[in-house]
């Protein structure tokens, strides 16, 4: 771990492609994830155009057949969750931040880390390749229920479907390797003096997310192997005619699928916590409360999965049970939101771009959380199930998590990552240009869902009840807002590229933050720390009364206020 680095001139390939440096691997994950997000964004543009203006030739794509529509929707969901949210929130931020924030020079297993990214890249390539095989990519929804997913005669994608399963399987192996690294590194490579409660909350969140992932992914991998066998060898694991059971897949999928929500939620909440403490200049309220609530949420998240199957023919008594657990799990999450707000209470807040994103996360996620309670009640779900109400609900959770969470993180750590400051003005333009259209996309979808518009239909022309002028107007509002939101992402890309090369040079600690990554040069050199730091206190000692400056870096020698208070 601590032997000195022998520095030699590294070639471009060594430095950026086959690097074992955690920062480079983090960037690889981030840029691959962002590239995939562009694909996912393009897909949603195409199928939203089809929904708003049925039958038109979509500019840049052409006519949208039913088969293409299904594939676009399926892969939009697949990409945004598995190839954007997870690589960017966990893998990119986790890789970049964990060693820097605990005062280490790299991950404990750097080569396993590199292997993790390489498998991830392979998985992305397999998925992209599946769009170009005969009949195109898989179109049986990101949840891939059999028999639709198991039999080519139903899904009409004899190659696309197995390639989808293989891509997802590979991706999970990649995150498994990454997760092992995260857990081991956080436990075993911390700077001297950094005790459990001195670890920045974002790292706890990323590591707990990794543990949740590792506990839940096994069943899905088992299910995926059986699905692949059904597709390729002709076994009947999910086929009742052969003695199999199609519901089996749903249980295995959602046993993973619900914890997966927290797998991506927790890193985003961690990012938000860091930003809030820094820009409120206050100690993070209830550090231990947050930690224990997250543990409770993590455990509960394994006993709520069947709320996705209320309509699938499960025993109604079981549905009742899962309604109760689902309502219980909203308690620690709601509590977390209150605790976060308590950090803001009475603070003099700096409304910088990262802070705006962090606050927007709270506001928008709240809407997602509250509408989730409607769906968690099995009685109401009978009506709302399979409508756009569900679509709007989970986008109000996943967009704050994946998109807002990412922007919060990237705007906050950009100076450290690239050594330059992002432009604040254009950062704010991008912020409002994203947040306002976002709400104009999904509020109409709540209304459409309540009106009974079901999902996974490529157009409503043949549904007279749903093809009214009022409802069609709502669809057009959503689509136009989507295009506006996508267009504003160009502002971010330009801002990022411009600032990267021409932005104001960043100091070591531009936000006056306490955590260890702000004690090394921006960007940090290979090996991170010239001298390994020692930690003397927790990460959130802001505006301490005994201090002249309003922050107190973790590595600054001196007393630990948490101890002297006793």
């Amino acid at each position: 771990m601590s032997e000195a680095h022998t520095h030699h001139e590294m070639s471009f390939w060594e430095k950026y492609v086959f690097s074992t440096d955690h920062k480079i691997i983090g960037f690889q994950y981030m840029f691959t994830g962002l590239f995939m997000a562009l694909i996912g964004g393009f897909f949603v543009y195409v199928f939203r155009m089809q929904l708003a203006f049925p039958g038109i030739d979509v500019p840049g794509f052409g006519h949208v057949s039913e088969l293409a529509y299904n594939s676009l929707v399926t892969n939009h969901g697949t990409i945004m969750i598995f190839w954007f949210a997870m690589p960017v929130l966990i893998a990119a931020f986790g890789n970049f931040l964990i060693p820097l924030m605990i005062g280490a020079d790299d991950m404990v297993f750097p080569r396993i880390n590199r292997l993790s990214y390489q498998i991830f890249l392979l998985s992305a390539l397999v998925l992209i390749a599946s769009f170009f095989v005969p009949n195109g990519g898989f179109g049986g929804s990101w949840t891939a229920y059999p028999p639709l997913s198991a039999e080519a005669q139903y899904n009409a994608t004899p190659l696309g479907a197995p390639m989808w399963v293989i891509a997802v399987g590979l991706e999970f192996v990649a995150f498994l390797l990454g997760g092992i690294n995260f857990i081991t590194t956080l436990m075993n490579a911390r700077a001297p003096g950094m005790k459990m409660y001195d670890i920045p909350i974002v790292l706890w969140m990323i590591v707990i997310a990794s543990i949740l992932f590792m506990c839940s992914v096994g069943p899905l991998l088992a299910g995926a192997i059986m699905l692949l066998f059904d597709q390729l060898i002709g076994t009947g694991f999910y086929n009742p005619a052969h003695g199999g059971d199609p519901l089996l897949w749903q249980h295995l999928f959602w046993f993973f699928g619900h914890p997966e929500v927290y797998v991506v939620l927790l890193p985003a909440m961690g990012i938000v916590a860091e930003i809030m403490a820094v820009f409120a200049r206050k100690k993070l309220f209830g550090y231990k409360t947050i930690l224990y609530s997250v543990f409770a949420t993590g455990i509960l998240s394994f006993v709520v999965w069947a709320h996705h199957q209320f309509i699938a023919g499960i025993d109604p008594r079981m549905a009742n049970l899962f309604t109760v657990t689902t309502l219980i799990i909203s308690v620690p999450i709601a509590e977390l939101c209150f605790v976060y707000i308590a950090t803001l209470y009475g603070a003099s807040i700096t409304f910088s771009t990262p802070m705006l994103w962090a606050l927007a996360f709270m506001a928008e996620f709240l809407i997602g959380g509250v509408t989730g309670i409607f769906l968690g009640a099995s009685g109401l779900d009978v009506y709302y199930h399979d409508t756009y109400f569900v679509v709007a609900h989970f986008h109000y959770t996943f967009v704050p998590i994946a998109i807002i969470g990412f922007y919060a993180g990237i705007t906050y750590w950009f100076p450290k990552m690239f050594g330059r400051m992002l432009n604040e003005y254009w950062g704010k333009v991008h912020f409002w240009g994203t947040i306002i259209p976002f709400n104009f996309i999904f509020i109409p979808l709540f209304i459409l869902g309540a009106a009974g518009q079901h999902r996974r239909i490529s157009g409503y022309v043949h549904f007279p009840d749903l093809y009214t002028q009022d409802l069609q107007n709502l669809r057009i509002i959503a689509t136009v807002s989507l295009i506006a939101m996508l267009a504003f992402q160009v502002v971010f890309i330009v801002n990022m590229v411009y600032s990267w090369f021409r932005g104001k040079k960043a100091e070591i600690n531009p936000w006056k933050a306490n955590t260890l990554e702000w004690t090394v040069p921006s960007p940090p050199p290979h090996g991170n720390f010239a001298e390994f730091p020692t930690v003397y206190r927790g990460p959130y000692e802001y505006s301490h009364p005994d201090r002249e400056v309003d922050y107190w870096p973790q590595n600054e020698p001196g007393p630990d206020p948490a101890k002297s208070r006793k």
Binding site: V108, M187, A222, G236, F237, G243, T534, Y536, P559
Partner: protein
């Protein structure tokens, strides 16, 4: 407790001493995932079995219970040998440790070979992956276990062959050991659920 501590070169300070060695922690995390994976396979099997009116399905051969019971003994013996090898390793008696490792590899190899032989007979009797859901689950679960066993044996063989007079990388020894205990430990459960009940 409070107050500035010695601020020498931090490099010379001991870092937060790992309570659990990294290789062990990593392997435990992997094994945790594997346990969940096998748990899913087993519960899928039990659900399908409970759904079936006749089990095993008509016209499908019975599994070799007795031979496999004996074979289970070989596998458990292999695990025990690794355990003994570890005890010798701890006290620095590397030649003895190496010998016991060799025994562990040998007994593990016997287990896999007997399994393979029994499979070839079962295939002859008409139990294939697609002959029935019974066959599908048998080859999936038992095959998956066999795959793990082969992988672990390769690692153990490599460990055995690279054993020097100074012993062996302790972390690799530890990691391989944990994985082998997992493969050995889960087998009796699989045997009971798939072969006996």
């Amino acid at each position: 407790m409070s107050g500035p501590q010695s601020v020498g070169s931090p490099r010379t300070l001991t870092r937060t001493g790992p309570v659990i060695p990294s290789s062990l922690l990593a392997m435990v995390a992997l094994v945790l995932t594997e346990i969940m994976l096998f748990a899913a396979l087993i519960s899928s099997f039990l659900i399908v079995k409970a759904d079936a009116s006749i089990w095993p399905p008509l016209g499908q051969p019975r599994l070799p219970v007795i031979v496999t019971a004996v074979n289970t003994g070989f596998l458990l013996g292999s695990g025990f040998m690794f355990f003994l090898a570890n005890r010798r390793f701890r006290v620095g008696d590397f030649p003895a440790s190496r010998k016991l490792m060799g025994m562990a590899v040998f007994l593990g190899g016997v287990f896999v070979a007997v399994q393979g032989y029994e499979w070839s007979k079962l295939l002859g009797f008409g139990l294939t992956v697609t002959s029935s859901i019974y066959g599908s689950f048998f080859y999936l679960i038992i095959g998956f276990h066999a795959l793990h066993a082969v992988g672990a044996l390769v690692a153990m063989l490599h460990l055995f062959l690279t054993f020097g007079p100074q012993g062996q990388s302790a972390s690799r020894f530890l990691g391989t050991q944990v994985f082998w205990y997992f493969v050995v430990g889960i087998w009796p459960i699989l045997y009971y659920l798939v072969y006996l009940s």
